[in-house]
C-alpha cells in the first residue's frame, strides 16, 4: 500500500502544473474562451509537446504507456486551472475507445493525430431520452453493403462542434433499451448527412447537438463488435468518470484554497471574516468533504484496473457519489463564503462552482450512481 507518487509521476505533476501556471491563469482563460471553438490551439500544442496527449497510449502506438495514476494527475491539474481544452473528450474517451477496442488499422489511423495534437475527438452518446443509461440507444446503424448507415440524434456532445472525428453509439439490432445490439462507430465529423448545432456549455466548455441522417460509413468504422459493444462503452465511460472525479478534486482544492484566502483577507466589523467560528467550521467541513473526495478519486483510479467488471463498476459509481456530494458542498459553500462577490462572473470562484456542477451531471449524477451501488448490494 502506497499513496505516494513515483519519481516519474512527481515529474509529470510538476511539468503540467508548471505549464498551466505559465499559460492558464484566469485572464488567459478568458482569452482562450474567445478563440474560435472556445479553446486555445496554442495550449493544446503545448500539451502535445510535453507528451501529455500521448500519455495513456502504448509505446507501440507512439505513446508513453502511462496508467490511471498519470491520468489522475493530469485531470487534477486540468481541474485546478479550469482548462477548456478537450482532453477528456479526445484523450480519455476517444483514446479509450481506440485503446480498448480499436483494430490495428483504427489505431494507426487515429492515435498519431491525437498524440501530435492535430486531431480531436468527441463522443456522441447522449440522446433525448437516454439520460444516464448507456444502453438506452435509439440511433440506428443499419448494414448497407459492407458498411453502415447511421440515423439518429445526439445531444450535448462535448467538443462535438470542433472534433475531427465523432465516436457514435448506435443500435445495430434490438429494442431501445436492450443491452445488446449496440455498436460504436468512428465517423468523420464532415461526413455527408451530419448536421451540428454548437453552443457553449454553462461551464464555458463547448458542445453540440448533432443529427445523423443517412450517414454512410465503411465496414472499418465499427470499433469492436458492432452488435455487442456495451461492455466496451461501459469500460470507457467508467474511465471518463474516474477522470472526472480527479478533475473535480482539482477544482475543489482550488475552490477551497481561494475561499480560505478570501475569508482571511476580507474584513468586516474591523476583522477578517475568517476569524468568525461559524465560517471556520464551514471551511473545515469543506476541507473534510474535499479530503473524502480525494480518497474516493484515488479509489476510483485504482478500481479502473479491477479485473471484476461488477466490482469495478460499483467502486467507480461509489466514487462518483462521494465526489458529487463533496463538490456540491464545496461548490455551494465557496460561493456562500465569498458572499456577493461570489455571485459575479468577474470572480473566479463561481466558475469553479459551475464546472463542478456540470461534472456532477456528466455520465451519471449522485442519485443515479447511488442507485447503482444500492442495486448491486452495496460495498460491504
Amino acid at each position: 500500500m502506497d499513496f505516494d507518487l513515483s519519481e516519474e509521476q512527481r515529474l509529470l505533476k510538476e511539468s503540467i502544473d508548471g505549464l498551466l501556471t505559465d499559460s492558464y491563469d484566469f485572464e488567459q482563460r478568458k482569452k482562450y474562451m474567445k478563440e474560435k471553438g472556445g479553446w486555445s490551439k496554442a495550449v493544446w500544442s503545448k500539451l502535445a509537446e510535453q507528451g501529455l496527449l500521448g500519455l495513456p497510449f502504448t509505446e507501440a502506438d507512439g505513446g508513453f504507456g502511462a496508467g490511471g495514476v498519470e491520468t489522475m494527475i493530469v485531470m487534477e491539474a486540468l481541474g485546478k486551472a479550469l482548462v477548456l481544452e478537450p482532453y477528456l473528450a479526445t484523450v480519455v474517451i476517444g483514446g479509450g475507445f481506440l485503446r480498448h477496442g480499436g483494430s490495428a488499422e483504427q489505431k494507426a489511423a487515429h492515435i498519431p493525430g491525437i498524440i501530435d495534437g492535430s486531431k480531436t475527438l468527441a463522443f456522441a452518446q447522449l440522446e433525448k431520452n437516454s439520460r444516464y443509461d448507456l444502453f438506452d440507444v435509439t440511433t440506428t446503424a443499419k448494414k448497407k453493403g459492407a458498411g453502415w448507415v447511421i440515423d439518429g440524434e445526439k445531444f450535448v456532445v462535448l467538443n462535438g462542434e470542433n472534433a475531427d472525428t465523432l465516436i457514435v453509439t448506435a443500435r445495430t439490432k434490438g429494442e431501445r433499451r436492450d443491452r445488446n445490439g449496440i455498436g460504436v462507430f468512428l465517423v468523420p465529423a464532415d461526413a455527408k448527412g451530419i448536421s451540428k448545432k454548437g453552443y457553449p456549455t454553462q461551464d464555458g466548455l463547448h458542445a453540440a447537438d448533432i443529427s445523423f441522417t443517412g450517414v454512410e460509413v465503411g465496414s472499418d468504422a465499427a470499433i469492436g463488435n458492432p452488435e455487442d459493444a456495451l461492455d466496451l462503452i461501459e469500460r470507457v465511460v467508467d474511465e471518463a468518470r474516474i477522470a472526472l472525479c480527479a478533475e473535480a478534486v482539482g477544482a475543489m482544492d482550488e475552490s477551497l484554497k481561494e475561499t480560505v484566502e478570501y475569508i482571511k483577507t476580507r474584513k468586516q466589523f474591523g476583522v477578517a471574516i475568517g476569524s468568525f467560528q461559524s465560517l471556520q467550521h464551514r471551511a473545515s467541513d469543506m476541507f473534510v468533504a474535499a479530503e473524502q473526495a480525494r480518497s474516493m478519486s484515488m479509489f476510483a483510479t485504482m478500481a479502473g484496473d479491477f479485473e471484476d467488471a461488477k466490482e469495478r463498476a460499483s467502486a467507480i459509481a461509489a466514487a462518483k457519489v462521494q465526489i458529487g456530494k463533496s463538490l456540491k458542498f464545496v461548490g455551494q459553500q465557496s460561493i456562500q463564503l465569498h458572499g456577493g462577490i461570489g455571485m459575479t462572473m468577474e470572480a473566479k470562484i463561481g466558475h469553479y462552482f459551475k464546472r463542478l456542477t456540470m461534472i456532477e451531471n456528466t455520465f451519471g449524477d449522485t442519485e443515479y450512481h447511488l442507485r447503482r451501488v444500492a442495486d448491486a448490494g452495496g460495498l460491504i
Binding site: V260, Q277, S284, F287, Q292, V373, A374
Partner: protein, 396 residues
C-alpha cells in the same frame, strides 16, 4: 501509488483473523455484535489471551513488549479486531498512560507499571475532564499540593469511563495555581483504592453505566507517583491525545455494524417484504457504506503517511477521521433504529443475561443509538475538531 496490500500483509491479515476465530470467546463476540456491555471479567479474560499472544500492547516499542509491526500491520490488526468484533485493548492503559510512562517516566515507573498495564493487572482510568472543564480542559481545578513526601489531592473528575473497574488513575492536577492555565499542571498516577477516593456512577441516557464522577478528598499520593516533570503535565496530555490517530475512525466497528444492519434488514419486514428490499432504505444504507469507504481510504492515507514520515507530531488529518468516523457510527445506529422500527421501544426487560435470545437483540438497538451520541462529543467534540482543522490546516 498502490492501494493493494502486499502478499505479506495479506498473509498477516489471515494470521490475525485465524487467531481471533480460534481465541475470542464466542459469548464475548456475540454480546459485542448485539451492542451489549461486557463484564470486567469478560474483557480482562480476552485481553490476557491477547497479551499472552504478544499482541496486547502491539504498538509499544519492542523493549516494552511491542510487536515492531509496520503502520499497515497495526491498521490491519485494529481493523480486524474491530470488525470481528472483539474488545480493543483498554485504551486508558495501553494507548494513553502506557506511552506517557515509557516516554516520560523514570526506570522505576516503567518497571512498576508497564508489565501490569500490558496484562491488565491494573485497570486504568483517565482523570482529565472536570465538571467545569470539558473542551476547555486546561481550566481544570483539581489540585495536588506537596506536603513532605506526599501529594495531597483534592477535587473532582467526571466522565471517568469504567472507573468502577479501575485500580489506577492517571490524573491531571494543578500543582502551581499561580502559573498560567496550561503551565501549572502535573501528571500524577495513583491507586483508586487510596483513602479519600469516591466513585459515583453516572447513568447515561441509554440506561448504561459506563461513566462516573470521581471525588478526591485529601487523597495522599507518594511523591514518586509524579510522571515526568512537575508542571509539565499539559505537554504529556497533549502527547497522549495526539497519540491515538487512526483508531478513532473506528472503521471496523462501523463495517461490522453495517453487516449486522444488512442481516437484520433481511429478516425484519416492512410493507410485506424485508426492509432490505425497500429501495429508499437500500440507498440510505449504500450512502453510508460509501462514506465509510471514503473514510477507510482517508485513514489508509494517514496510515501510509505515518509509515513513511514517522509518528512525530499530531496529524490534523486525525480530526477528519474523528469527525467522519463519529458521524458514520451515528448513522449506522440510526439505520438500525430504522430497521427495527416500532420494536425499538421495549426497554431491556430481559437484562443482559441472554435469557431471551429471540428478542434480546431488539432491546439493544435504541440504547445503542442513544449511547452513540457520545462519539461526536468525547475525545474532543466534533466542534473542537473543526477548530483544529481551521487553525492547523487552513491557517484561519
Amino acid at each position: 501509488m498502490d492501494l493493494a496490500f502486499t502478499k505479506e500483509e495479506v498473509a498477516f491479515r489471515e494470521e490475525v483473523r485465524a487467531f481471533f476465530r480460534d481465541n475470542v470467546p464466542p459469548d464475548t463476540r456475540r454480546k459485542m455484535q448485539e451492542g451489549r456491555h461486557l463484564s470486567k471479567d469478560e474483557m480482562v479474560t480476552w485481553w490476557r489471551i491477547l497479551n499472552k499472544k504478544g499482541w496486547g500492547v502491539s504498538h509499544w516499542p519492542k523493549e516494552y513488549g511491542g510487536t515492531g509491526w509496520t503502520s499497515v500491520q497495526h491498521y490491519i490488526f485494529n481493523e480486524e479486531l474491530q470488525s470481528y468484533p472483539a474488545p480493543q485493548p483498554l485504551a486508558f492503559g495501553v494507548s494513553m498512560v502506557g506511552p506517557v510512562i515509557y516516554t516520560f517516566g523514570n526506570e522505576a515507573q516503567k518497571k512498576q507499571y508497564l508489565p501490569r498495564i500490558a496484562n491488565v493487572d491494573d485497570w486504568w482510568c483517565q482523570g482529565f475532564s472536570e465538571p467545569g472543564s470539558g473542551s476547555d480542559l486546561a481550566s481544570l481545578r483539581t489540585k495536588a499540593e506537596r506536603k513532605g513526601d506526599k501529594w495531597i489531592i483534592n477535587g473532582q473528575k467526571t466522565w471517568t469511563t469504567l472507573a468502577q473497574h479501575a485500580d489506577m488513575i492517571f490524573c491531571l492536577c494543578r500543582t502551581d495555581p499561580s502559573a498560567k492555565k496550561q503551565m501549572g499542571i502535573s501528571f500524577i498516577v495513583f491507586s483508586m483504592k487510596s483513602k479519600g477516593v469516591t466513585v459515583r456512577p453516572i447513568q447515561t441516557i441509554d440506561g448504561g453505566h459506563e461513566v462516573n464522577e470521581v471525588f478526591f478528598d485529601n487523597v495522599e499520593v507518594p511523591i514518586e507517583n509524579l510522571i515526568g516533570e512537575e508542571n509539565k503535565g499539559w505537554d504529556y496530555a497533549k502527547f497522549l491525545l495526539g497519540n491515538e490517530r487512526t483508531g478513532i475512525a473506528r472503521v471496523g466497528v462501523s463495517k461490522e455494524r453495517l453487516r449486522r444492519i444488512k442481516e437484520l434488514a433481511s429478516k425484519v419486514e416492512s410493507g410485506g417484504r424485508p426492509v432490505i428490499q425497500d429501495p429508499a432504505f437500500r440507498e440510505r444504507l449504500s450512502a453510508c457504506e460509501i462514506e465509510l469507504k471514503a473514510l477507510e481510504l482517508t485513514q489508509l492515507r494517514v496510515v501510509a503517511d505515518e509509515g513513511k514520515h514517522g509518528k512525530g507530531k499530531p496529524n490534523p488529518a486525525s480530526s477528519v477521521l474523528k469527525i467522519k468516523g463519529s458521524e458514520i457510527q451515528q448513522t449506522t445506529t440510526e439505520l438500525l433504529m430504522e430497521v427495527i422500527g416500532p420494536f425499538a421501544a421495549p426497554y431491556d426487560v430481559h437484562g443482559d443475561d441472554g435469557s431471551n435470545e429471540a428478542m434480546d437483540w431488539t432491546a439493544q438497538i435504541a440504547p445503542s443509538y442513544f449511547n452513540n451520541r457520545k462519539v461526536s462529543i468525547y475525545g474532543g467534540s466534533n466542534e473542537i475538531q473543526r477548530n483544529i482543522i481551521a487553525k492547523a490546516v487552513l491557517g484561519l
